[in-house]
Amino acid sequence: MIICELCNKNVATVHLTEIVDHNVKKELHLCDACAKEKGVTAKLHQFSLVDIMGGLVEQVEQQGQKEIKQAKCPTCGLSYGEFKAKTRFGCPRDYEVLRDAVVPLLEKIHGSSQYVGRVPTGATGDDAARKEVGELVKSLEKAVSEEDFERAARLRDRIKVLTEKKKE
């Protein structure tokens, strides 16, 4: 269930998509009340998605991650500010560099920040699975030490699925 990105309370029923410069597609989910408040009608958009998105990332900031404001990716140069402005990543490394902002954002968009899909196989299938289990165990330990038990439970389930597959 997607929650309204502005009030964080109601279920989102208005789904907006904005295409800027042919390439940047942004989506935003609002409840009826917030959409009305922002003046969203089917035809007129008198606000910029960027303003609202910026507000969304603003909330993340307020959740106490001050260091993130200084973050800048050594590989592609994407800064937190640029990410906040476009909500687009510049390279895979950004996911780690901006992790503290990424995780809550993904929770808002997908209701989760933990992948549970297919694991890449290929020539080093076993190695990949083993490596993944190792990384998951590390994350599990971290989640437990941070008393994030919901996340820990999800990780534990994921590890179980993967290790059961390996036995086959």
Binding site: M1, I2, V11, A12, T13, V14, H15, T17, I19, H22, N23, V24, K25, E27, A42, K43, T75, C76, G77, L78, K86, T87, R88, F89, G90, C91, P92, Y95, V102, L105, L106, I109, H110, G111, S112, S113, Q114, Y115, V116, G117, R118, P120, T121, G122, A123, K131, E132, E135, L136, S139
Partner: protein, 353 residues
């Protein structure tokens, strides 16, 4: 690698237009799309022109090393606007991909059901398009295609976030699973608002394929999943396999009811539409879609007997601007297009019965 032959593409029915598949009266097509990025390159939005060209070349060089896919490549930078529009109309590339102006391309497999956009928002957008309701098969074929490509292209992946994409709305499975539905009676009875509301609550995106707002031109709607993280591919397929049949049933029930209670109303709508399409000398795209929708309903309910559904499906596409202009081999003004469109529809409908 062999180039794409647009003439050949235009002359044959694309696999997914064969009007076959389960629930083909309501589900025109099913699409599974996977977003992937290649290790060692910046994402498209952050790359310089030179870097974009390098990424394209890197990918393009490796595509022929997967002979099972039998891919043909078409760089889009040097194709005409009409040809790009043609590809959008065939659902092979997105509007954004057509309109972008950097090094990018499209690869297409032997029967046209597998296509890959190179350097759209992500390095690769793998797409499988099948006729009718075929969620499991489409997702599986997309996965198989992706696995073959993963053998020659390293994809960015993290155990926590899954397949890494430029936009956070795609990260994880990178899977966008969608169906294209024809819902003329639900639209006629103003039930689409309700459908929208229910689907949004369940995290599904609904949009009209043509036009905007709640009544889509041609009464075609696309439903796709929104979540790509925290749900597996199998879960997404299972969810949609439960959800879509309910919408199909809703449309079918409304059709039955309307036919039982007020058959004349539908018959009148259908035959008036047929009359206009068979006789107009100039007709706009908007009006064509409106009447083709009624004709399609007519064919599906047996009101019109001698027109094959495949012909109607093809007309939806053949009457669009890119297709019309390709056929005439020149760009046309809006007025000229309206005339050519009318000719196209008239001849198609009059020769088939």
């Amino acid at each position: 690698m062999r180039p794409v032959d647009l003439k050949e593409l235009a002359s044959r029915q694309s696999g997914w237009l064969d009007a076959g598949g389960p629930e083909a009266d309501i589900i025109v097509s099913t699409r599974a799309r996977l977003a992937r990025n290649v290790v060692g390159f910046k994402f498209v939005g952050r790359s310089t022109l030179k870097e974009k060209a390098e990424t394209e070349a890197f990918i393009k060089d490796r595509l022929p090393t997967v002979p099972e896919l039998d891919l043909r490549y078409m760089p889009l930078k040097d194709t005409s606007a009409t040809d790009r529009l043609f590809l959008v109309e065939r659902h092979l590339i997105s509007k954004e991909h057509a309109n972008a102006d950097w090094p990018r391309g499209m690869a297409i497999g032997k029967d046209g059901s597998v296509s890959i956009m190179v350097n759209e928002e992500d390095h690769l957008r793998i797409q499988v398009l099948r006729s009718g309701l075929r969620l499991h098969a489409a997702e599986e074929e997309a996965h198989d295609t992706e696995q073959l490509l993963a053998g020659v292209l390293p994809f960015c992946f993290s155990s926590q976030f899954g397949y890494l994409t430029a936009c956070p709305t795609n990260v994880g499975t990178g899977l966008r699973l969608s169906v294209l539905l024809h819902l003329p009676v639900l639209a006629m009875l103003n039930q689409m608002e309700q459908v929208f509301r229910v689907l949004s609550r369940l995290n599904y995106i609904v949009r009209g394929l043509y036009g905007e707002g709640t009544r889509a031109s041609g009464d075609f709607y696309q439903i796709s999943n929104h979540v790509t993280l925290g749900k597996s591919e199998a879960q997404t397929v299972a969810e949609m396999e439960k959800l879509v049949p309910q919408i199909i049933k809703f449309e079918r029930d409304c059709r039955q009811r309307l036919l039982a209670e007020n058959k004349v109303r539908i018959e009148d709508r259908v035959w008036r539409a047929f009359g206009i399409l068979s006789n107009a000398r100039a007709i706009s795209s908007e009006e064509t879609l409106e009447h083709l929708s009624a004709v399609r309903l007519g064919v599906n309910t047996g009101i019109i007997e001698k027109i094959p559904i495949m012909l109607v499906n093809e007309l939806f596409i053949a009457t669009q601007p890119g297709h019309l202009q390709r056929k005439q081999s020149k760009t046309l003004s809006a007025t000229e297009r309206d005339v050519v469109r009318a000719e196209c529809v008239r001849s198609a409908l009059n020769t088939s019965h």
